[in-house]
Symmetry: C2
Subunit: 427 residues, 2 copies
């Protein structure tokens, strides 16, 4: 083949970033000089664009692009479920390699895409789908093969990390911090996918599939957002030696997969606790490597384009090396797995309870937790709200189901007026 021809689907922020790199290869990997941006599929030919593209490569015929016999690699950065999923499938059917940053499609239809790709002997690469510019998929698939991977912990959503950092640093409430994030372009006008944890759930589903070779049912990922967190909880967490982060987590638990996204108290000495603002970071745990953490800009045109083009370079390298199907780039099989039910999860908890200020309440709480096998690390009357005592309980590792049974009982106590916050604690 002469040049390696790229067809690009989507010319939004990331697409424009990808095109800009492909059109300006100087000083980057030499393989980039060996490629041509052949066609760019967009919704409208007439939208004004800052990027200067070669004449005639823009097209609205997206199906024509994925079926163009001259195109070797299809790069999908349109986002959304459809038509992205169908276009990726058609590209695969045409024997084209695919590079995508589409976390929503991968989290829901990954197994379908990977199977189709295996059958056609093509690659579906996805470094841009998780962690923006951080090399994470690549190390997972290609550098850590010696390991039995055990655990993934990540701050994989920059919007929520920015909001939590703002709430903590400036004492803002959630609504004010969200408004700040929106005004800076770090949060969408409709922020639900981010603040409800759905974006993070897409990402941890993809990472768990790659790390453990299991098939994750996206809708089974337990997902809890940050909308209910009050500034006072961040202050108490700080006093107790923690920071609050939206943690995405996947770990093997026997034959089951413990996979969840929720706000979490993380000890200040843990590397993830230092991850500030829109940064992302992912900790990979394995035997014998121990734990490695990869950190960087989790979103944005430049970082995500870096990841997408890195994947293009990887495909191009195997093409230029006349390689057969490469075992480290190819999709691994995804074995169905049982998700560990939340009741069976073992975790620590932080909970804040408002009670009438009278003797014996702390004893009552302790007795009730104890009866359900919930071992406590600390029970502290940490503050007051008007007439009420504010009690913060931190547990040891407990079975989640036991904790909720105890809490249900405690909620019935006459002295207990409210339980405003329950958060999990990492350790």
């Amino acid at each position: 083949m002469d040049k390696i021809n790229i067809g690009l689907l989507g010319l939004g922020t990331v697409g424009a970033g990808v095109a800009a790199i492909l059109l300006d290869p100087q000083g980057r990997h030499p393989l980039l000089a060996d490629m041509a941006l052949r066609r760019v599929g967009v919704r409208s030919l007439h939208k004004p664009r800052a990027l200067h593209l070669p004449a005639g490569i823009l097209t609205t015929d997206l199906v024509g692009l994925v079926q163009d016999p001259d195109i070797h690699i299809v790069v999908e950065v349109m986002g959304g479920l459809e038509p992205a999923r169908s276009l990726i499938l058609q590209a695969i059917q045409q024997g084209k390699h695919v590079v995508t940053a589409n976390k929503a499609v991968l989290a829901r239809y990954g197994a379908e895409l990977w199977q189709a790709a295996r059958e056609k002997g093509v690659y579906v690469l996805m470094e841009g789908a998780v962690g923006g510019g951080i090399p994470i998929i690549h190390p997972l698939k290609q550098a850590l093969g010696a390991n039995r991977l055990t655990r993934i912990l990540g701050i994989v959503n920059g919007t929520t990390n920015f909001i939590l950092t703002q709430m903590e640093a400036a004492g803002m409430d959630f609504a004010a911090a969200l408004a700040t994030a929106q005004s800076l372009g770090y949060a969408e006008a409709d922020p639900r996918a981010d603040v409800d944890g759905e974006d993070a759930a897409d990402k941890i589903a993809i990472l768990a599939t790659l790390a453990f070779g299991v098939q994750v049912v996206r809708d089974e990922v337990y997902c809890e957002g940050i909308g209910g967190i009050e500034p006072v909880d961040l202050q108490y967490a700080e006093r107790l030696g923690f920071r609050v982060k939206l943690l995405a987590l996947a770990q093997r638990q026997g034959e089951a997969l413990d996979i969840r996204v929720h706000p979490t108290l993380i000890p200040r000495s843990h590397p993830l606790a230092s991850v500030q603002g829109v940064q992302n970071a992912i900790v990979l745990g394995g035997d014998p490597v121990g734990e490695v953490m990869l950190q960087g800009p989790g979103a944005g045109a430049g970082p995500t384009a870096s990841a997408v083009v890195g994947d293009i370079v990887n495909v191009a390298a195997t093409l230029r090396a006349n390689s057969g199907y490469h075992p480290l780039l190819g999709a691994t099989g995804a074995i169905p797995t049982r998700r560990l039910p939340m009741d069976e999860v073992h975790t620590r908890f932080y909970t804040r309870v408002l009670t009438q200020d009278r003797p014996g309440v702390i004893g009552q709480l302790g007795t009730s937790f104890g009866r359900h096998g919930v071992s406590l690390e600390s029970v502290v009357q940490i503050g007051r709200q008007e007439e009420l005592a504010e009690i913060v309980v931190v547990t040891h590792q407990v079975r989640e189901g036991d904790f909720w049974l105890a809490l249900e009982e405690i909620r019935q106590f006459a002295a207990v007026m409210a339980i405003p916050t329950v958060l999990r604690v990492w350790s």
Copy 2:
């Protein structure tokens, strides 16, 4: 080929870790089940070893091992310059791929090895040489190809980071912290290669070569150790908002390469400032990715073996894919480059000056720095030592040569009794 046969040179800590993984592939990358540990080269057959090896694979005939026609990949984890260098070269001449963790050989003879490897069409992989278990070489060569790389900053020596963390946390002096490190097995009986910065210099030389495609003359890497740092400097750094780390740094400066290792004040808000104990961390800066940081255990049998075996898996993958010479695994050319002389480096400085306690001294210092174009951020009388005033100066970015001229002048002032510490400041 039937199995992919591995010849292992060295059965010390890392070698034993590598052998243990190869002999127990279950649950790791499937390619590991497709390999055989064929021969293990050691100095003595009779040394007692914890690891149980298959009968008959131990040998003291190291040359025989690298010339064995049945061996496909030679793994060199003996360390030291010779015979490691010669054995690697012979393995290459025999058309074998090489995986090595030998930073000393790579930093000094890398160009020779890579050229030989290119000519024979084999790979020399080296993930274990830098950063222990952290995937760093791999992301650099294979995941960040879209970028123009601009800068590498690293904490790449766990021993010195442990010592500095101890000095800071426990207020120990250098000798006591070193003794603690030695008692815990984090420092060698002869700790010079670590504490003098030579080990870090080896590593940054390798990283700079890979990131920038330049040939680094190892002996030209500027190298300053941590032996001269006093606890009081760590305290003052803390008060000024910094932590002190042994920083290894390489960045392009026009056509020249700014490459150096020295203790450095790093702002507490910088991710590298949070790297504690024996951890390593490396920041890669590039356009358009911005900065990514990779962090993890920088040494130890498990982490380093993880990196070495990861490389073996990469070579095995190209063999199983019948790949031609793979452009991302192959050595890149190393173009000779000019090292930026230290006088031309631009950096900030921290210096501690002991002066007689009399009026006008701070003005004198300021005037002298100003005369040499050294712009100051702060001059503070921060403490006293017996009769003397202890003045700490922090500069803006200045030309290093100008700073030293000013300091030479200041040293002559009658009121200046001593200048115990000069450290560079990162920002």
